[in-house]
Symmetry: C2
Subunit: 437 residues, 2 copies
Amino acid sequence: MEPCFLTAAEAASRIEGGSLTCEELVRSCIARIEARDATIKAWLYIDKAHAIATARELDKRPRKSPLHGLPFGVKDMIDTADMPTTYNSNCYWQHRPAKDAACVSVVRHSGAVILGKTDTVEFAAAGRKAATRNPYNLGHTPGGSSSGSGAAVGDCQVQLAFGTQTGGSHIRPASFNGIYGLKPTWGVVSREGAKQYSGTLDTIGWYGRSVADLRLVAGAFQIFDVERDEPVSCRGLKVALCKTPFWDKAEAGTHRAFALASERLTKAGALVSDLTLSPPFGGMYEAQTTVMFGEGRAAFLSEHLAHGPALHQDFTDRAMNSKGITPAQLVAAYDLAAACRKEFDSLFGDFDVVLTPASTGEAPQGLHTTGDQIFNAMWTLLHVPCLAIPCTFGAQGLPVGIQIVGPRFSDARLLRIAAAIAPVIDVESKAVTERAA
Amino acid sequence: MEPCFLTAAEAASRIEGGSLTCEELVRSCIARIEARDATIKAWLYIDKAHAIATARELDKRPRKSPLHGLPFGVKDMIDTADMPTTYNSNCYWQHRPAKDAACVSVVRHSGAVILGKTDTVEFAAAGRKAATRNPYNLGHTPGGSSSGSGAAVGDCQVQLAFGTQTGGSHIRPASFNGIYGLKPTWGVVSREGAKQYSGTLDTIGWYGRSVADLRLVAGAFQIFDVERDEPVSCRGLKVALCKTPFWDKAEAGTHRAFALASERLTKAGALVSDLTLSPPFGGMYEAQTTVMFGEGRAAFLSEHLAHGPALHQDFTDRAMNSKGITPAQLVAAYDLAAACRKEFDSLFGDFDVVLTPASTGEAPQGLHTTGDQIFNAMWTLLHVPCLAIPCTFGAQGLPVGIQIVGPRFSDARLLRIAAAIAPVIDVESKAVTERAA
């Protein structure tokens, strides 16, 4: 098997064992990108020579971290000191930050090889869409705004990549591209150097092709308690199925994924029950919209003043508060979110983990949309960790995942739970990957 | 009078009327800096030629904003594209960001002239102190972390300057330097391009030498409702005096300022009463510390990994969570803060504004300390707007201010209230300024 098809954890293990060099791995990913990028268009920038040179250097040095030599993609609204950062905006084609974003610095200093910058919805917010196509069907979106990162990992062009989520920009592309994704608890990963949209919502996450991949990166970020090893068993695990107040938006693919995940977990001995959230949670989708647009006003004011009509109208609209968000609406949204955060955390005496849709279903057709964030926005506003797991395929042959959710700061436990249940839930995508390889 | 001694609003009015050019104003500030900087040490970087050239250019262009031609200082943990940004850290002497921070971009595109970068506590957090001295007594601190901005405005070296507040870094220096300062509601000013410490707490504010100065800048940021003109009268204004749960930390200077402010307001016809906050507010100081250190862990991890032993131990301690902050403590602090925010806002049926200490008293002696944030930390965590007003002088001849506080997003109304009450409260510092001029 070509090294590009290995998961990050498999590749790390081979590098540690000496059966794979960092350079071989990076060259294999670059070869895959060269073969596929004209079709998938996941990347806005690649520096092949620099990546190979970095990998070669790493091969000479002692391995200090599990990320040593692993290729990493960076969503192009996250700053990199050695590559352009365009935010996929006409106003920033020439932009070269002087400093890595904090998250890039963390993985770079842990030995990751930054392969390049992945396409994104403009400023990870609105405006221009990514040119990226879904690797499972070129006529469909890979989701967004983390379009390029999701598709690049899904298409085995890179093992790991950063995405971000303000509404549903990280978990939804994971579902659409048949991959794993972690959106950590709000605040546990620094957002410094990533384009800001909403201080309350913006969260940096990462993609991989296994739970172990996600955990490698969580280790580099020294996520609370991630170093502790307390394996979880699927048998006896109390899983709460949460259809959310927005279940009427679920399409056939998500109906199928939800039913299959429940069935597979039950067969494996998990104790599966239904969770109905209390009525206030029904207001959380609207609250997330209020916060996103209310805070987007401040986020895009400087872009509006600096770029004027050269800036996409979507951002001028935000700066000018075209939705007319009022302070009273913002305060009500903040206070509702705070009450729901506390209530949601308190539910976890009765069960271990919440299982809930990751997207409305399969990736929609066309590149004019990146899909609906209805099954993601509430969780983002709740600040809770969300972990996407591939589950099945819909009628159009596109992947559909589910996500599991825990209380705030339970990221490490959520990774352990995912490690136990992913082999049970994710039985179809593995077959596809093996076929591809 | 030399133009440097004008307030921002006075200077703006003269520029508008044609009796003062931008170049004359900037040259006057530069002359003041040249005369005083060896003593006060407020600046880490000044580009005189660039500032004069910019002012000269502005004199040729139509005036589009009240900030047109006004000199502005920028705390040196806020990025500037045309000047270094050192964070006052040994690790960043050579750092030159590629892009202005959002706040710098907003005032620059509103016509402000960025004079230079002001000294700061390292990363506006800990580590190395600013070299800046208090203009009222060189043996005393100007406060921190916004040390240089506070002293430069207080010493009439610049009309306006940015500071930031995570604990008490903005309002405390205002009190110590006898100036006005606004810490807006959390989230209404973008923090993009300012060094991050705590996503929950970090807030960008500005200093001036009058309420009108603060309002000019608030206008540039299009703060909610700031364009509405509803003057407030001191007569009949319901002012709640809040000693806070931390009153035992108040020193003689603050006792004096508090009594004088109350007396002056009462004489002017305000309805002054006492406000005792409910017991949960007593936990807000500790909660702020928990949040600051808990989030500081993520904020400084990348610096720790990138710079190793070259980084000041204070930041390695934060990255390594040397205080042992637990997820449970963080969640409890978040939930307490959310409950107190809601309760505090609800109090404003009974009165119009809260008046509370801005500092423990006069600036302490020595440059090894920047003073105590005990009277600021709770308000920062509450996310409410705080506006510092000079009030009196303590036994050592140093200024002591008070602050007024409103509910979240009442920034515009707080500015109007300040405009009504500042002439009543701030009767001593004006005399000093006029003497200096």
